[in-house]
Each structure stands twice: as C-alpha cells, then as structure tokens.
Amino acid sequence: MRQALRTASFQLLPGLAILAGLFLLPLSYFFVVSFWQVRTFRLRPDATLEQYARVFTEYGSTLAWTLAIATLIATVTAAIAFAYAHYCRFRAGRFGDGLIFLSLVTLFGGYLAKIYMWKTILGGTGALNSALMALGLTSGPIPALLFSPFAVIVTLTHYCLPLAILPVYGALRGLDDTAIEAARDLGASGPRIFRDLILAQARGGLTAAFALTLVITAADYVTPLMVGGPSSNMIGLFIQSQFGNRLNSPLGSAMAFVTIACCGLIVLTLSLTLRALTRPRT
C-alpha cells in the first residue's frame, strides 16, 4: 500500500512540476505582491489588506458590473454551446463531427478579427443599421448597437462559443445511445431523459464551458475598450492600468485575485446547483 502510494506520487511528479512551474509559481508571486504596498513609486514588501479594502471601496461597483455581465455572457454562451453540441450529437447524424470542426474553424480568424467584424456589423453605418433603415424599421441608425454593453455581450459570446462547444460536445459524445433507449423503455419522457441522463452526464462539460467563458470574459479588457461604450468599463481595464501606467501592481494583483475568487464562487454555485438538479436517487 505504502509502496503503491510512493510509486503513484513518483509518477505524478512531472505533472506537478509543470503545474508548479507554469501556473502556481507566477500566481503565488502576484498573490504575495497583493499584500504589498507602493510608496513613492517603489514596491514595498508588507502584509497589509489595504489593497483588498480598496478593491471593494473603489472598484466594488465595477467588479459587480463585470461579474454580472460575465455571468450573463457565460450563461448565454454555455446555453448556445449546449444547444449546438446537442444538435450535433443527437440530430446531425454523421455530420456531427464536421459541424463541430466548422465551429472551431471560426477561431482561426483570431480575436481582433472578430471584434472588427462586429464593429462593422453593429456600427452606425454598419450592416445591421443599414438593413434596419432599408427595411424602414428605424428612421436613423441606432447608436446603442455599438459602444454599449450589448456589443460587448455579442462580441464575447461569439468569440467564446467555439471554446465552449468543445467540452460540452466531448461530454455528450460519451453518452451511450443504448442507455437512452433503456430509459425510454423504462418509461422516461424526453424532458426526464434530458435531466436524468443527458444533463446528469454532461454536467462537467457544461460547467467547464461556463467556467471557461466566465474567466475569459471577466478578465477581458480589449473588447470593452473597442466595442463597449463609456458605461461598459469592466474590471480588466482597471487591472491592466494598475499594472501599466498606474504602476500599482499590488492593487492590480488584489483586483485580479478578488475577481478570480468571485468567478470561482460563481462556478461552484453553478456546479452545485447542477449536481443537486441531476442527482441520481434510489
């Protein structure tokens, strides 16, 4: 037993080394820094919670706004991703894998290309406004289409969608068709099968899709800058400026860690809710 344990830990070593080197070490550095201070433009080691206090007093509403919008985007994205992956898995037959690949191809355009694409579509002289005016539905361009939270939501949802589809599709592919037939045979209706079998087993994939979108969105500062209006400032912009022209990495680190912690809590809530919803019973 002890021997087995020792071998197991030995085999884990390379993985742990990568984890530590690439993720834990840099993160812990900034975690330590978040308790430091900046005095006269110099970083001073300290053990103060001052930066954390400032996050909540000065940036509390920005943080709340960011988390709200990120949660909205993650929910919409995960829902669309689930619908698309569900279609590919259960309705598209042998075209399923091809459709998934197609959705991934859109990633090749890159991040900025997607942003500019939406700028062109949503702008005052953009495709959408022109179409609306041509159809006589509006008399002039709707300015709120671009430079608004709406534009941020649309752009980020579109960007994250392929990334969110992957884990959901992975989970759905693992489902056993015979098990679904067996459930029908035992009297289960469509919605019942959806909850008891499909959602219950794709729970992890769905949570992963949500979490991925949530962290990408909550940390993003390019999209709000490019397509968001003055009202859609998100925390990423402020974190970036603390590390940049404000030269206050302790505050920036504290903001980042509070954001990460909040995202973690949101994901945990979703995960526990899904688990409770789909828990098998005797």
Partner: protein
C-alpha cells in the same frame, strides 16, 4: 386462449433492403420463446418492433389484444434487456434498478422493497451501492436484467443478452435465466444467434433466415424435423445427402437407393451424426439400419464422451458420425455408414 403478443403481417425495410419480410407470430402468456438466426437475419429488428423502438412499415402488433403498433416504448407493457446493456453509468446498481419505478411513481417503501427483491433474484443483494462501472461483465448483465424485471413486464425482450460473456459465464447465466423465468413467470422473448443457447433455454424456437421465420417449433421438433436445409445445417450438426425422391424411395447422388417417404423431385436427406453407425463389414451393422452408404474415413478424433469421425462418401460429400467408441477405424478405411430411416428427414431441396 388469446395470445399475449400477436404480430400480424409485420414487416420492415431499410431503404431498398428488407430487414423483416411481413410475418405473423403469436406468443402466449408465460412462454419462453427464442428467436434464433444468423447475424443480420433481422432478429434485432423484429424484437425492436415488439419493444416499440422501430415502427413497422406494414402490419400491426397487438399486446394483450390492444393494438400498440404506433405506441412508443414508454407506453408498452414490454421491457427490454439490451445487447450492450445500456446501464446508466453515473448511477449505482440500486439506482439503476430503481429508475423505472421512480418514473412510474412507485412509493418509496414499495420501491425499496421491489429493488431489494430484484437484486436478490439476480444474487447481487450486497452490491446495491456499487457504481456500475465497478462491476464485471456478468454482473452488469444481471443488473440490466434486474432493471427490466423489477418493472414486472408482461413481456420481457432480451436481445442477445449473453453474447458479450465468455462461455463459462454464459452457461451459468443460462441456468440463471431458466431459474428466473420459472420464479417470476411472464413471457420471455429471447434473441440469439447461438443455437445451443436457444435449445437449452427456450420451450419454443423461431428460426429466422434472411428476414423470414422459416421454422417455429419446440427445440426437439426443430432438431429432429428441420423444415429446410438451412435449419438442418444451422441447428446442430447434420449430414446433408442430396438426391432425388420418388415413390417412397430416395436415390442419393452416389447412386444408393434408400427407403424414404417424402418429397418428389430433388431432395436433401438430413441425418444427424449421432444416428449414424459405422462398420467395416456391412453385415456387422444392426438390423434397424435400413439405410446404408459407402464412405472412406478421413479423420478420427477422440473427444472424451464421444468420438468424431469425418468421412467422405463415394459421391464426394463430407459426412460426420458421432459414436461412443472409436472401434478399430483409421483414416483411409472403407466403411459402411448405416442409419435407421426413422431417424432421417427428407426435405425438398
């Protein structure tokens, strides 16, 4: 008595290919019927039509006198044990078994009692809390069976439930199936491509060939009086001698004429290997062997309880004889094969 399951002219095709030709079948309460046939002959399609997973192109299906042809599986008094089991991998054994009862809103205490009873029946009473992923193949098979049986279906459909198991486990499970059928009653329709399994389990066998039921009878019937060359060759081992029949006699292709009532014109004479007696000297054959044939011994294999002798008749046909003792025969020996015409079956070819 009205049959429990009745198929009337039920057929199904996929595109231009016919999987099941229109056929009719009546199965009574409490029967243990086996649908037997080679791979691709339409057994699964037939079973899935009874279960409601495949809608027939034509004909109707009645269960207990009610037409269920268009009813989905969840609305039928049938339950199915699938070839791949289809267990719910994220549930424990007990949760798997309880699933159908939960759907049917059976009260908690009653549910617990019936699940315990079902687990007891399949001898897995101690494994209720085990994850199904931690079960062996045979145990999974039994959970799939319990999950269907706990619903107390009027008709239990089984699609090659034992095909994934090794021989020893398969034999043990066959015994379990017999015990369970005797214990719970109900009608079992059991699909298999293994003739030995069908013979040992069922009281009635429907042999299928290319989408048709070509013979329907007791195991003994089918073994002793095969209706066609296909059935004779598929069920057990058989010597098939070709010939021409006329006037209560049969002229085999090697020229020998033997007594044999049956068809006129081209025929096949079916003789089971254990009915054949071999002798170097024709005079040594017992009197009841009124049909005789010359052959050359090709191989003699001692199998323990029996000896398998392969032969070639003078017309070049392969033949086989099973006997208790080897005698002094060796490959190359000229022998006479003898059998009683009462043991042979003459079928129009």
């Amino acid at each position: 008595m009205a049959p429990l399951v009745e198929l009337v002219g039920v057929g199904k095709g996929y595109g231009s290919a016919t999987a099941v030709h229109p056929l009719s079948l009546r199965i009574g309460e409490g029967e243990f019927v086996s649908i037997l046939g080679p791979s691709g002959c339409g057994k699964t399609t037939l079973l899935r039509m009874i279960g409601g997973f495949v809608t027939p192109d034509e004909g109707s299906i009645l269960i207990d006198g009610r037409d269920v042809t268009r009813k989905p599986p969840e609305k039928r008094a049938t339950n199915m044990v699938f070839q791949g089991y289809g267990l719910f991998p994220h549930m424990t054994v007990a949760q798997n078994v309880a699933y159908g009862l939960r759907i049917a809103r059976v009260a908690r205490t009653e549910r617990a009692r019936r699940v315990a009873e079902a687990l007891d029946l399949i001898r897995l009473a101690d494994l209720g809390d085990r994850a199904v992923s931690a079960l062996s193949g045979g145990q999974r098979q039994r959970v799939a069976l319990a999950r269907a049986l706990v619903m107390r279906p009027r008709v239990l459909l089984l699609d090659e439930p034992l095909s994934a198991l090794d021989l020893k486990l398969r034999l043990a499970m066959q015994e379990e199936f017999r015990r369970i059928h005797a214990q719970v009653g109900g009608t079992f329709i059991f699909v298999t491509h293994d003739q030995a399994e069908a013979m040992s389990l069922a009281s009635r066998i429907c042999v299928m060939e290319a989408g048709r039921i070509v013979q329907d009878g007791t195991p003994e019937d089918i073994y002793r009086r095969p209706a066609s060359r296909f059935v004779a060759g598929f069920i057990g081992e058989a010597n098939l001698f070709e010939g021409v029949g006329s006037d209560e006699r049969v002229r085999l292709s090697c020229g020998t004429v033997i007594p044999g009532a049956g068809a006129e014109g081209p025929i096949v004479c079916v003789v089971r290997p254990e009915a054949v007696t071999l002798a170097a000297d024709p005079a040594a054959l017992p009197d009841q062997c009124d049909a005789r044939l010359f052959a050359t011994v090709e191989d003699v294999v001692f199998l323990g309880p029996e000896v398998r002798t392969t032969l070639r008749t003078d017309s070049g046909a392969q033949a086989l004889a099973l006997s208790r003792t080897a005698g002094p025969l060796r490959p190359g020996d000229r022998v006479t094969m003898g059998w009683a015409t009462a043991d042979q079956q003459v079928i129009a070819a």
